[in-house]
């Protein structure tokens, strides 16, 4: 990363690497894509059973791209690479991209640096839905989705819908009211979750692991269902970067600029909530990514959403896939713990070094 950027001419005031990168979002995106590709390869090559890297590449080439190749590897290696690791890494990337993008959107929409994808009750709604799903002793499975996934998805959407209605976000109401409504609804749902956990008996462990977040249950059918939802929401958000830029100036100014503030808010909120709900349905609650990746990117490229949104998507994908890899090498650690342990010190370092002039 550093060598390519260092080759660029130093800027006139600051000579830091990040300062020069700030002017080159396209180069940064290219670096991000290379990083994502490297993460994908690493994620598939490593796990808690060792499969030779040559075999890994040969299996993927042979099975996915029909390379002519003699099968020299055991069947178990093929199952591990294709059925366990590949969907897992891709799911982590999709969720990382979705949460980062949704986080950037929520932060811009609510003009609040502490906003994250879970700020309007998504987390509590999804968790309560999942917990209820775990308590219902009926086994329904469709396309790899059990009751837990479906109820988590529905709970997240429903929570935000309630917040939206209650706070009159559709009007030009104050953002403080929205945030407080989100907090109140979230608290109510969290109380419901605590109650559910109290009576959960043997299912408590499953609820607990859902709250920590994990990609251990990732599978192709789940990915195939959640990926289109994430893709649709992401395209909507990416295509409305200009609206977010206008909203950063304040609702009144944005309206004077000709922006239909109510409609844009609804669309952006809907898209961000959709991708968040699809993410928490497959992975559980993974914190930190959606809060910090947008800030990291913003520290480097500034608050322009036309650069911020796509770069958040790219780096969020790599970051979460990498965190998942670190999480599963020693056995299964909760991925949310890794994202914070790895990400927080790095974020603090950047914040301390480049805090001057940083604003939403």
């Amino acid at each position: 990363m550093s060598t390519r950027v260092a080759a660029a001419p130093a800027s006139d005031v600051h000579t830091g690497l990040l300062e020069s990168a700030r002017r080159r979002p396209v180069a940064l995106a290219a670096i991000g894509l290379v990083l994502a590709a490297a993460t994908l390869i690493l994620g598939v090559a490593f796990g808690n059973v060792s499969v030779p890297i040559a075999d890994t590449i040969a299996i993927i080439g042979h099975r996915l791209f029909n390379w002519p190749q003699a099968v020299t590897w055991p069947q178990s290696a093929e199952t591990i690479v294709l059925e366990l690791r590949l969907p897992r890494v891709l799911t982590a990337m999709a969720v990382g991209a979705a949460l980062s993008l949704a986080g950037a959107t929520y932060q811009g929409l609510l003009r609040n640096p502490l906003a994250d994808p879970y700020v309007l009750g998504t987390a509590s709604g999804a968790a309560l839905g999942a917990a209820i799903g775990l308590l219902i002793p009926v086994q329904i499975e469709l396309l790899g989705f059990g009751l837990v996934n479906v109820l988590a998805f529905g709970g997240a959407l429903l929570a935000v819908a309630v917040v939206y209605r209650m706070s009159r976000l559709g009007s030009l109401s104050s953002l403080t009211a929205v945030l407080l409504t989100g907090y109140a609804v979230g608290s109510l749902l969290a109380a419901g979750l605590a109650l559910t956990m109290y009576v959960a008996g043997n299912n408590l462990r499953q609820i607990f692991f859902y709250l920590l977040g994990s990609f251990a249950q990732a599978s192709w059918p789940q990915l195939v269902v959640c990926l289109p939802l994430i893709a649709i929401g992401s395209v909507i958000m990416l295509s409305r970067a200009r609206s977010l830029n206008a909203l950063l100036l304040g609702e009144q100014t944005a309206a004077h600029l000709g922006l239909d503030v109510r409609r844009e808010r609804l669309v952006l909120l809907g898209a961000a909530t959709l991708v968040t709900a699809a993410s928490v349905a497959v992975s559980g609650l993974i914190g930190f990514v959606g809060l910090v990746i947008p800030h990291l990117v913003r520290l480097v490229v500034g608050p322009n959403h036309r650069a911020l949104l796509p770069l958040s998507l790219i780096f969020g994908a790599s970051f979460l896939a990498l965190a998942d890899l670190i999480a599963r090498i020693p056995g299964e650690l909760p991925v949310g713990v890794i994202t914070a342990i790895v990400g927080a010190p790095f974020f603090l370092y950047l914040l301390r070094r480049y805090h001057a002039g940083y604003d939403l």
Partner: protein, 365 residues
């Protein structure tokens, strides 16, 4: 965020307190399907497949141990406690065991050398430590299972092994036999079932005979004795935890000649101190002795002074592992529990049991 973390933290504390290190059946069973066990005859139990799923009441009863397949017969069909039937082409040679109880059972069946995977908290017998672990507290490490390629997986029901992991292994093509004993009779049924599945039915029948012998010994010894109100303490931090009504532990206390004091609901583990005081146990059995609770701690607890068991110093530590783990040592566990409740009963004490709290004065009711 803070709420979430604190809730999650509460969860892990609550869970660890309830679960201890024992088997899957420390937790409440919603429905009790089997008849009371203390049959004085010692004959095999009427049914070996305790189907835990109410939607499949018509699941065919499994073949009894005496008529089961031997290793030479061609194919083996067994029905797990989740109602799922598993068919094996021949006696399995690569078995993964996902509960401490089934790991013990495999060794007891003389099939320990066919065990190729276990959980990382299996602690008995010592030879088990040589089998590679493929599951942690958090779940099954699927890559390791695939790498091993088992021809039979023994999993715990009622979410001891998570349903998602069971589904995943079945989807990958591994036969998964789910075991979940709701009471002591269910343990015997599961031992027959596993014996049948691995082609060691005769050994399983011997194990069950000896367990049944222990059960009969205990029920004979306690038959003429009074039934003291007994509280089996599962844990005391952060709340007090005890057996739920109709749970495995409550069933055992009854078999051991006690009158179990339980929580109010099958889904609730915690028992308010007020309830315990009003129920006034005559004996308190410390299932959490293995995790550091001793009678001296109980005697010093605020508000416990007037409980009969405390006044009479009838607080007794037991080895939770043998008492609550639904494995081949359940007969010994029952004997240990009966001796804790009735110290003078004519019961052979179990051998090789760790002694807890030996520094404290011995309990005499």
């Amino acid at each position: 965020m803070t709420k979430r973390i604190s809730a999650a933290f509460a969860a892990i504390i609550l869970f660890s307190a309830c679960q201890g290190a024992g088997g899957p059946t420390q937790t409440p069973a919603p429905v009790r399907t089997d008849a009371p066990l203390a049959s004085p005859t010692g004959t095999p139990l009427p049914q070996t497949s305790a189907t835990a799923v109410p939607t499949t009441p018509a699941a065919p009863p499994t073949v009894l141990a005496t008529t089961a397949a031997s290793p030479t017969s061609s194919s083996i069909t067994v029905t797990g406690d989740d109602g799922t039937t598993v068919t094996l082409a021949s006696a399995p040679q690569r078995v993964v065991s996902l509960t401490p109880a089934t790991t013990e059972l495999m060794f007891e069946l003389g099939a320990g050398d066919r065990l190729v995977g276990r959980t990382d908290y299996d602690d008995y017998p010592p030879e088990a430590s040589q089998v590679p672990p493929v599951a942690t507290f958090q779940g099954v490490e699927m890559e390791k299972v695939v790498n091993i390629g088992p021809d039979l997986v023994l999993a715990g029901g009622n979410n001891f092994t998570s349903q998602a992991d069971i589904d995943k292994m079945r989807q990958l093509g591994y036969p998964v036999l789910v075991l979940y004993a709701q009471d002591v009779a269910g343990v015997l049924a599961d031992i027959s079932l596993v014996g049948q599945a691995v082609g060691e039915s005769d050994t399983a029948a011997h194990i069950n005979d000896s367990i049944q012998g222990r059960i009969d010994e205990v029920s004979t010894a306690v038959a003429s004795l009074s039934k003291p109100r007994t509280f089996y303490e599962i844990g005391d931090d952060p709340e007090l935890y005890g057996p739920a009504p109709d749970s495995f532990v409550a069933d055992e206390v009854t078999l051991a000649g006690g009158d179990p004091i339980t929580t109010t609901d099958p889904a609730v583990f915690s028992i308010p101190l007020e309830r315990l005081v009003s129920e006034d146990p005559e004996v308190i059995v410390l299932g959490d002795a293995a995790y550091g609770t001793c009678p001296s701690d109980v005697y010093g607890r605020a508000g416990w002074k007037k409980i009969t068991a405390v006044e009479k110093q009838a607080v007794v530590p037991v080895d939770d592992t043998i008492v609550t783990r639904p494995g081949p040592r359940i007969g010994e566990g029952l004997a240990a529990l009966a001796l804790a409740i009735h110290p003078d009963a004519q019961i052979t004490p179990p051998a090789d049991v760790p002694v807890y709290c030996s520094a404290t004065p011995s309990a005499t009711p």
